[in-house]
Amino acid sequence: MEIERLMRKAEELAREYGIKYYEVRIAEINATHLEMQNSHLEEFSSNIEIGIGVRAFCGAWGFSSANDMRRAEKAIETAMKIAKLMKGNSKVYLDDPTKDRAEIKAKKAFVDVDLEEKLELVKTVDRLLMDDKIVNRKITYGDGLKWQFYFNSLGSEIETIIPRIRLSFSATAKKGNDMQSYWEIFGGTGGWEIIENTDLEHWTTFVKEKAKSLLNAQLPPSGEFDVIMDPELAGVFIHEALGHASEGDAIKNGESILEGKLGEKIAVEELTVVDDPTLEGKFGSYIYDDEGIKARRVEIIKNGFLNEYLLDRETAAYLNMEPNGHGRAQSYNYQPLVRMSNTYIEPRDWSFEEMLSEVKRGLYLIGDKGGEVDIANGTFMFGAKEGYLIENGEIKAHIRDVALSGKILDVLRNIRAIGKDLKIEFPGYCGKGQWVPVDDGGPHVLTRALVGGLL
């Protein structure tokens, strides 16, 4: 068999080049993608891709990849040659070998669903989004089945199969020169059942009505405000405000504001933040990371204390810790980096009404429009899809185009209330030079932040 031959070859070459540690990922991705805009089908593709990625370690990393399996041996040799040349002094965590075959099972495999049925889904959503005031409808469907075989010089051999599926749709409403969009995204690790369990009628109506109502929404005020975030916004908030700064490579490279703060109280006592790749069916879930380490739940903040960083083999060795399964690569042709998976705030006991009554003048902000963080300065920003003004504990005018900014270490201490209504169902992609699927969420959270309004 081809893989066994490559395993033998890798062993042989490692001896020849004096390589301390190496790992190889061979992946086959079977992906379908459909895109429709205003009933006009723009993308309709189904492809299979096979490739190999190799890392070799000799005090520093050498990496090589190829998407033509005839170059597989060459990739192994190139990675080892590079590692040999580099002569670094880094360390890597070595563990006992793991032999496993692990699969995230779908109830209804999407590979068994005809292309015609997938096309029909996109057309149905397009039809449901039609409305006089909606000038643009955009629907994107994607699924990908990833088979991966991982082996390393320690004797690990791990075969994994992960199916991921995603459906997103947006509606843009127009009035005069003014335009507003709204969208929803559904997805996870699993099969066609994720689509079947989505109430398309409800959500398409919801998206249309939101886009239209935003045309009449006000511009947000600007300045420091009390802000209640809904579960979706709380998710992107914690992803940006804490997640990135707790990634081991940012710590190792001296870039993160959280360096040297392990064990310190950096947030309010009520705050516990978790990154958990083992959650069932979530978009950011996996069984083993791309370094052959079993995925593990990590409590980044526990009761206000910085408890654990997200780690891969290299950062764990550097910090004299154990890796926790957060070394992820976008694909076979990328080196693993420390990444988040499903990141969320643990619920507490506040009800939304209690939270609301706490706010004299503030904002209730809803939905995730993405964010960005500068981990060295400790400043982050993120956008909300919409919001409402709050006056004396009551929800008032609808507002649009809101973005917030804050300092990591201030905002974690400014949290005044954490709700009990946990939701982690906001699939997306996180970019850090590579894109990986993630999810995030939380309950409703009350904090204080700088609102970048236009008024």
Partner: protein, 434 residues
């Protein structure tokens, strides 16, 4: 092998287009003054589009050396996709000549051996170590070096057959200063041709250190409303919010603020150009992803909307000509994108000012709403010049609306700077910082 594939396709009763790539990329990463990782990656593949009875199918295959049977299967699979597809087919471009853009390839980069590149990466590492010794432990230096070569080719059933080999090289430097406060400084520069490394490394370190000093001492300000200067980095961030409104597909599908050329949409001091024909620039190419020749497109001239960007499909749908802006790789079908984007306009001296509010870097533009134009961006670094003093600030928000901002432009500077494929001088406009 491409010839073999063309032979197979010519025997089928379909219209076809192949887009192929073969390339190699290498990079080095420096962390805390140590060279910790390097890579050398190979990629190759072919994307095939088949037009059949008014519909189009697409699939790709990785690798470039396949036997005839594999190629036959690949062709038949794509034809099958075209037969069940409902994506309308508007035709492939005709063979329409075109010029070769100069200075996009440098043999010295293609033939740069890994050992030589390693030596260069080491020299950057050594230089950073020197600075670390000089400035002390409050400073953390990191950086990177990347270079690559790629050949892109296109052929279609209308007789287009073109290929182009290009090279690229980039260098980045990142410095963090942390003591009781934090500051960061970054520098990134890309090249098509082999640069003078020694000079570039020194220049990059100098610029990043200037920035780190400003950033370390920067404090939040109370707020400001009035005339301000955007440096090229900040201009790149805000113009990126505008760009999708100039893409033909968004205009066609009514996701753009604009609907027709000839409207006045900005101040007469503002001109915006997309130009893929510039010699030696990062966003340049001789032909686009459909084989149409690259060209210079004036998008906004003295405030007047002159043109949108088109690929073949949307040009046909909107009864116009492609502007040579089909962007793709072998894994994807073409979509509209920009090449080099150049900001110009009424030029004034915007350097050496004795009183100004200047935004150097902002971030978060992808969270802005391109259809309403509203944005709120975090200020990574800005500074105020007053009475001969420079007072840096950060952590505020720069808020506004892109359509109002381009209407408020008073003038642009005389000196242009490259931020990747974005080329811009300083811009003087009206804005609000909170």
């Amino acid at each position: 092998m491409i010839d073999e594939l063309i032979k197979i396709l010519n025997h089928k009763d379909v219209e076809w287009e192949i887009y192929w790539e073969i390339g190699r990329g290498s990079s080095f990463k420096i962390e805390r003054c140590e060279l910790v990782r390097a890579q050398r990656k190979y990629h190759s593949g072919i994307g095939l589009r088949i037009g059949y009875k008014g519909k189009i199918g697409f699939s790709y295959i990785t690798g470039i050396n396949h036997d005839r049977a594999t190629l036959e299967r690949f062709v038949n699979r794509t034809i099958k996709l075209a037969k069940v597809s409902e994506v309308p087919f508007h035709g492939f471009p005709d063979n329409n000549g075109g010029n070769k853009v100069k200075a996009l390839y440098d043999k010295r980069i293609e033939e740069l051996s890994f050992d030589d590149a390693y030596a260069t990466a080491l020299s950057l590492t050594e230089k950073e170590k020197e600075f670390k010794e000089k400035f002390g432990k409050e400073y953390t230096f990191s950086g990177g070096l990347a270079f690559g070569v790629s050949t892109d080719g296109i052929a279609n059933s209308n007789g287009i057959e073109k290929s182009e080999k290009t090279t690229g090289l980039s260098m980045s430097i990142h410095i963090v200063k942390r003591s009781e406060k934090s500051g960061i400084g970054s520098y990134y520069k890309g090249f098509r041709l082999m640069p003078d490394f020694e000079r570039e490394i020194s220049l990059g370190l100098e610029k990043a250190l200037e920035e780190v000093a400003l950033s370390y001492n920067a404090k939040k300000i109370d707020g400001y409303k009035g005339e301000l200067i955007l440096e090229p980095h900040a201009v790149a961030s805000v113009i990126s919010i505008l760009m999708s409104n100039l893409y033909g597909d968004n205009v066609y599908h009514r996701r753009s603020r604009f609907s027709k050329v000839g409207d006045t949409i900005a101040s007469e001091s503002f001109t915006l150009i997309d130009d893929a024909t510039l010699e030696g620039k990062l966003g340049s190419y001789s032909f686009d992803g459909e084989g149409n020749p690259s060209q210079r497109n004036v998008l906004i001239e003295n405030g007047i909307l002159k043109s949108f960007l088109f690929d073949e499909t949307y040009a046909k749908l909107m009864n116009t000509e492609s502007t040579g802006n089909a962007v793709r790789d072998f894994r994807t079908t073409p979509h509209i994108g920009n090449s080099n984007v150049i900001v110009d306009g009424k030029r004034e001296n915007l350097g050496d000012l004795d009183k100004a509010v200047i935004l150097k870097r902002v971030f978060g533009e992808h969270t802005a709403n391109p259809v309403s134009g509203d944005f709120s961006l975090t200020v990574e670094l800005g500074y105020i010049i007053e009475n001969g003093e420079v007072r840096p600030f950060k952590d505020n928000m720069f808020v506004g609306n892109i359509f109002e901002l381009i209407n408020s432009i008073i003038s642009v500077g005389k000196e242009k700077e490259e931020v990747g494929s974005f080329i811009s001088p300083r811009v003087l406009a009206f804005g609000k910082i909170i």
